[in-house]
């Protein structure tokens, strides 16, 4: 089983330069915050889902549906309790607070799905090379991309260790909270030890292949910003500007809400 989210498909989104995708991702962090009204935010959500459809990434929604579900349920409840508004609905809940909760839930969901699409269409090495092309030092980008690559491996090791310890009788289900936390030690220590122990071999292998031998390096992966990248970026900027203009003109806000 490969717990990485990357889906090896050939869509135009996949072929975009990683820098473009990073900008889009950052943009998706900003865009949902332009509007407060849940209906407007819903429009942004629909857009993101469509984009995910084009990128053939929606199948990964299956893997994070539980998180999304919890977000959609709990966030509005939380804000209904905590926030206050002008129009009372029932008990202590006001209409504006509930709406705020709904739109916040959507905003969170949008960023989650955007992140998921990013990971589904971008290889770790592309993340690294994108960061480097943006001016981040290679070693940092290398650490990030290697960490991404290693997470599934460590999860797999953790599962094997879990099997080994359960075979010896370790039972994680019983006991109170503190006891259950402590029972994780027979899992955490071997995971940590096995992984950290490989540091020296890994470092030796890196240096043996010339890591750090020269100040400059070349890249096998071919990335270049093309026309499509420019078009996509321009389209996004136009969209963002349009939304801001709408908001300034008075649409998409939420009156009467306080925290």
């Amino acid at each position: 089983m490969d717990p990485s989210l990357y889906l090896d498909r050939d869509t135009w989104v996949h072929r975009l330069d990683p820098r473009t995708k990073m900008f889009l991702l950052l943009g998706m962090f900003a865009l949902p915050f332009v509007f407060l009204n849940p209906l407007y935010v819903l429009g942004v959500l629909a857009l993101v889902l469509y984009f995910g459809y084009l990128a053939e990434s929606l199948v990964n929604l299956r893997r994070i549906w539980f998180i999304l579900f919890m977000i959609i349920v709990v966030t509005p409840i939380l804000w209904s309790i905590v926030g206050s508004g002008r129009t009372p609905l029932f008990l202590f809940v006001e209409r504006e607070a509930l709406l705020y909760g709904l739109s916040t839930a959507q905003r969170i969901v949008i960023t989650v799905i955007a992140g998921m699409i990013f990971l589904s269409t971008t290889r770790n090495e592309e993340v690294a090379i994108g960061l480097v092309r943006l001016g981040i030092p290679y070693r940092f980008a290398f650490a990030v991309s290697t960490a991404l690559r290693l997470v599934p491996t460590i999860v797999a090791t953790g599962l094997t260790i879990g099997q080994a310890q359960r075979s010896r009788g370790l039972d994680l289900e019983s006991g109170n909270i503190i006891q259950r936390i402590r029972k994780h030690l027979p899992l955490l220590v071997p995971v940590f030890v096995t992984t950290v122990r490989s540091t020296n071999v890994f470092s030796m292998a890196l240096e043996s292949k010339g890591f750090g031998a020269r100040p400059g390096r070349t890249f096998y992966l071919h990335t270049a910003m093309g026309r499509r990248d420019a078009l996509v970026l321009i389209a996004f900027v136009v969209l963002l500007a349009g939304c801001i203009a709408l908001r300034v003109a008075g649409y998409g806000g939420l009156e009467g809400f306080t925290r």
Partner: protein, 274 residues
């Protein structure tokens, strides 16, 4: 802060950044399914890790914790703008313990970052509380500023989560891992050179600044948030800015060099022969 940037020259530390980030993320992800505040706070045994990583791997643990938290958010499906706060928060969560450690020990005492004595355990608890507070303040401030969640809710939950996990699991992990990491030659104090680490001349003042910024910021933030004396998030956010600055400046003033010097001395003691 010198060592935070100088560390990148050492291959082993670069690898440790990747490994600690990966371990942190890998242990975070299975627990994403037990949310307290879904999308933001879960029951996380892994919260003990940044402090342990910082004490063992120094700056490598710092970057590793920050990156690991972000990857955990990415892959676990909880990536939001709040994750920026998570990055910075975890950065400080791992940074402060090993930096503040130096403040409590004199030249002649054993300064190794293990909890194998009563005094060391006490110091551990103290720096854990401070680091957890600062981490909680940073993240809660950021999230409140963005209007996503009220300061008081987030602060309490993060502080609670961090402090409990670091307090319960941390010492046991550290006791188990320190001797092994040392045996493998992977303690940051044995890999880096003293000149690469910030000097500790100003560390007393730096420590005070960080405490004031952290505890003060927490107190003020809670009061404002609880009494509703601020309008929207921007109020709490702006008032807390001086405290954030205090934390940042204080962190730059902290040292750590003597820990590396002490480690080098121990190494030379071992290797000396006629």
């Amino acid at each position: 802060m010198k060592e935070v940037f100088a560390m990148w020259r050492h291959t082993q530390l670069v690898v440790l950044v990747a490994l600690s980030a990966a371990i942190y993320a890998a242990v975070l992800i299975p627990f994403k399914g037990f949310p307290i505040v879904p999308g933001y706070i879960e029951l996380r045994p892994a919260n003990a890790f940044p402090i342990v990583f910082g004490l063992l791997f120094g700056p490598a643990g710092v970057w590793g914790s920050a990156i690991g938290n972000t990857i955990g958010d990415f892959v676990g499906g909880t990536l939001t703008v709040g994750s920026v706060g998570g990055f910075v928060g975890n950065f400080f969560l791992a940074l402060l313990p090993y930096k503040m450690w130096s403040v409590f020990f004199r030249r002649d005492e054993n300064i190794e970052t293990n909890v194998d004595s009563g005094k060391k355990f006490g110091v551990y608890i103290l720096v854990t509380i401070l680091a957890s507070t600062v981490c909680a303040v940073i993240i809660a401030w950021w999230v409140d500023l963005l209007g996503l969640f009220p300061f008081r809710v987030f602060f309490a939950l993060i502080l609670f989560n961090n402090a409990i996990m670091a307090g319960v699991l941390g010492p046991v992990l550290l006791l188990a891992l320190y001797p092994r990491v040392k045996r493998w030659g992977l303690l940051w104090t044995e890999i880096m050179e003293p000149e690469e680490v910030s000097s500790s001349r100003l560390q007393r003042s730096g420590a005070i600044l960080v405490w004031v910024g952290g505890i003060g910021g927490a107190a003020v933030g809670l009061i404002l948030s609880l009494t509703g004396a601020a309008t929207m998030g921007v109020g709490v956010g702006i008032v807390l800015i001086p405290f954030m600055i205090a934390i940042l400046v204080g962190a730059f003033m902290l040292g750590g060099r003597e820990q590396v010097e002490a480690a080098q001395e121990m190494l030379e003691g071992e290797g000396s022969e006629a």
